[in-house]
């Protein structure tokens, strides 16, 4: 059963994964080029001073990378399921519909997660070229909330797409948007170190909502 869901989701995501990969890679390559340029035109000791003492973030390029990725993958997976009442196709499969949506969601989260990990590793590597490892670690810790925002927008997109009723769609948009903003409250490095685990737990709260659309679809008078 899971194999078939994986197959279907893979077919849907595959072309967009390529787009998303390229998008992420392009931004990361640009980050590298930008940093290299900075070190070419400024004195390195000044750049280190700005980075460590003043708190300038030289890698803010990737701030919205994963949330945008989350929206793309979420749309790629769930828009084809919903347009023209196609949700009925999935509801008629010999699979529990809530399990179906949950597994589809987990597959998407996995995809977003893998890209997030690749982003993190790339960031660490790129920063590590120009700065000592402490700064690379710091960049990673600082970028973690921006990476966490990816699954949040993914889940929000999935929920908004699958929800039949407008009012609830707006609720999902408001909650997801409010939640998303929580990850962008600071422009200083490592400010999230002490609260990230709380936000991660909070993100788990949004996962169970994935099963709602299957039930709500059948209650909406279509």
């Amino acid at each position: 059963m899971l194999a078939s869901i994986l197959y279907k989701e893979w077919l849907k995501i595959r072309p967009y994964l390529a787009i998303v990969f390229l998008f992420n890679a392009a931004v990361l390559v640009y980050l590298f080029i930008d940093l290299r340029h900075l070190f070419a035109i400024e004195h390195a000791e000044m750049i280190w001073y700005w980075a460590f003492q003043i708190g300038t973030l030289h890698y803010a390029h990737i701030k919205y990378l994963l949330p945008i990725t989350g929206v793309i993958i979420g749309a790629a997976q769930f828009v084809p399921e919903m347009i023209g009442h196609r949700f009925r196709l999935s509801l008629h499969l010999p699979v529990r519909s809530d399990a179906l949506v949950l597994w589809s969601g987990l597959i998407g989260l996995l995809a977003v997660g893998i890209i997030g990990v690749l982003d993190a590793l790339s960031l660490y590597a790129i920063i590590g070229i120009f700065f000592p490892s402490e700064a690379a670690e710091s960049a990673l810790l600082t970028a973690l909330p921006w990476l966490f925002a990816g699954p949040v927008t993914y889940l929000g997109t999935a929920l908004v797409t699958m929800e039949p009723r407008l009012v609830r769609k707006l609720v999902y948009i408001a909650v997801s948007g409010g939640f998303l903003w929580l990850f962008y409250q600071s422009n200083d490095y490592e400010s999230y170190n002490r609260v990230l685990w709380k936000l991660a737990l909070l993100a788990l709260l949004s996962v169970p909502s994935l099963i709602l659309p299957a039930y709500r679809y059948r209650n909406a008078s279509s």
């Binding site: 004195h43 390195a44 000791e45 000044m46 750049i47 280190w48 001073y49 980075a51 460590f52 003492q53 809530d98 070229i129 120009f130 700065f131 000592p132 402490e134 700064a135 710091s138 009012v167 609830r168 609720v171 408001a174 909650v175 409010g178 939640f179 929580l182 409250q185 600071s186 200083d188 490095y189 490592e190 400010s191 999230y192 170190n193 002490r194 609260v195 709380k198 936000l199 909070l202 709260l205 949004s206 169970p208 909502s209 994935l210 099963i211 709602l212 039930y215 709500r216 209650n219």
Partner: protein
């Protein structure tokens, strides 16, 4: 069962999000001006005086501790060492006070302020532990950042900024000097003023694994390491270095017990500041130095304290004052009724974000009562049985308005 459960997780999430943003929105709409009280010790009248904002607009009172009010100019003449520029403008210099005469230059040279706000304490804000060790004897005016930076690991490692690789020579040189002086790695604390906008450079104070405090400098490229006599059982929490031309005090030293010291240039002798009720984690601290007195002023959002000391830091007088801004209930009853709690994310005393639930007190019961009534009306209109949907009402009982909004907009499944 499952849809019911996931409705509640969604409601919980919505409540959390609302409790972050709705109170903020309220403040954005309804906030008013508040100002902190400024407290000084007047060397002229030998009393504490303060300047405080009261009421709307720009109404200030300038008053002394006995309750006597002054007009602004008189008030400032009570603080000649602070308002020395105005004193000069008003032709009141040179100052004759207590048998001394002070002219403008002397006053300017002797001014010093030491500041310690909670977020400046090392464990209260993030800081990448890589630092530039300036050349303290450059042989020219103006300090410059060196082409290397150091970090304390199991050695004092210097990294060349251009190649981003370890400078073995410097590393061995400085690590050796530290070890010779008795330094035990790893370091617990590295403290220094990272800036080239200062009159000279005193390098770093580094606390080793045993609590010993070492003074590390770079002079003509060579390491200068001094093991200070500061007792290692002091458990140093923070050191703030301030390079001042008077060369009397290296900076402040805060211990884990909340004791604040000055590190003097006299062989690092520690001068304990006789502070009462000082909480370094919640209070902004300032030490105002003038030729006659040293005044420590520290305050949180509610109360401001001051100790006036002589030039040997012996206490002369103390004062405490509940600030006007602290007396006014910072959040009105309406706010507290609307929001039984809120989630605090920012904290001006820390460089780290928080995510804590702060309760607003018993006024919330008013709001909860109203919310319950409203909820019952809505549930009846929707023909939802009150007993069947007891959980929704329970949520409102605990979360008030947040719960009401969440439970109403996120309807139960039929």
């Amino acid at each position: 069962m499952l849809p019911k459960l996931s409705r509640y997780t969604l409601i919980l999430l919505a409540i959390v999000i609302m409790s972050v943003y709705l109170p903020r929105l309220y403040h954005k709409v309804f906030d008013e001006k508040t100002g902190k009280t400024q407290l000084f010790f007047s060397p002229v009248i030998k009393k504490f005086v303060f300047r405080e904002m009261v009421g709307e607009g720009h109404q200030f009172i300038t008053r002394d501790e006995t309750g006597k009010d002054y007009d602004r100019q008189t008030f400032e003449t009570l603080m000649p060492f602070i308002y020395y520029k105005n004193m000069d403008l008003w032709g009141k210099l040179p100052l004759h006070i207590d048998g001394h005469v002070f002219d403008k230059e002397t006053m300017k040279k002797n001014r010093q302020v030491f500041e310690l706000k909670p977020h400046m304490i090392a464990d209260r804000s993030p800081r990448i532990q890589v630092f530039p060790l300036l050349e303290s004897q450059p042989g020219r005016t103006g300090l410059r950042f060196p082409e290397d930076a150091f970090r304390m690991t199991d050695r004092m490692e210097f990294i060349n900024v251009d190649t981003n690789t370890v400078d073995k020579r410097l590393t061995e040189q400085f690590t050796g000097a530290l070890r010779e002086a008795g330094f035990v790695f790893p370091a617990r604390l590295v403290a220094g003023r990272v800036s080239i906008l200062k009159p000279f450079d005193e390098g770093f104070f580094v606390v080793d694994a045993n609590g010993g405090v070492y003074h590390v400098k770079r002079a003509k490229g060579q390491p200068v390491v001094i093991k200070t006599p500061i007792p290692s059982d002091l458990t140093v929490r923070n050191i703030k270095v301030t390079e001042n031309k008077k060369r009397e005090i290296y900076g402040t030293l805060l211990t884990k017990d909340g004791e604040l010291y000055l590190i003097s240039y006299d062989n690092y002798h520690l001068i304990k500041l006789p502070l009462e009720n000082y909480d370094p984690d919640t209070m902004d601290f300032k030490l105002l130095v003038n030729p006659l007195y040293r005044t420590a002023v520290y305050s949180d959002d509610h109360t401001i304290y001051a100790v006036a000391m002589d030039t040997r830091y012996r206490p002369i007088a103390r004062y405490r004052h509940v600030m006007f801004s602290g007396r006014r209930i910072p959040a009105g009853t309406v706010y507290k009724a609307l929001f039984p709690f809120y989630i605090k994310t920012t904290d001006k005393t820390s460089g780290y974000l928080r995510f804590d639930v702060i309760r607003n007190g018993p006024s919330a019961l008013i709001g909860i009562a109203f919310s319950l009534v409203f909820a019952i009306v809505v549930m009846n209109a929707r023909k939802l049985g009150l007993r069947k949907h007891w959980a929704d009402l329970a949520i409102i009982m605990f979360t008030g308005l947040y719960g009401l909004i969440a439970v109403t907009i996120i309807e139960p499944e039929p």
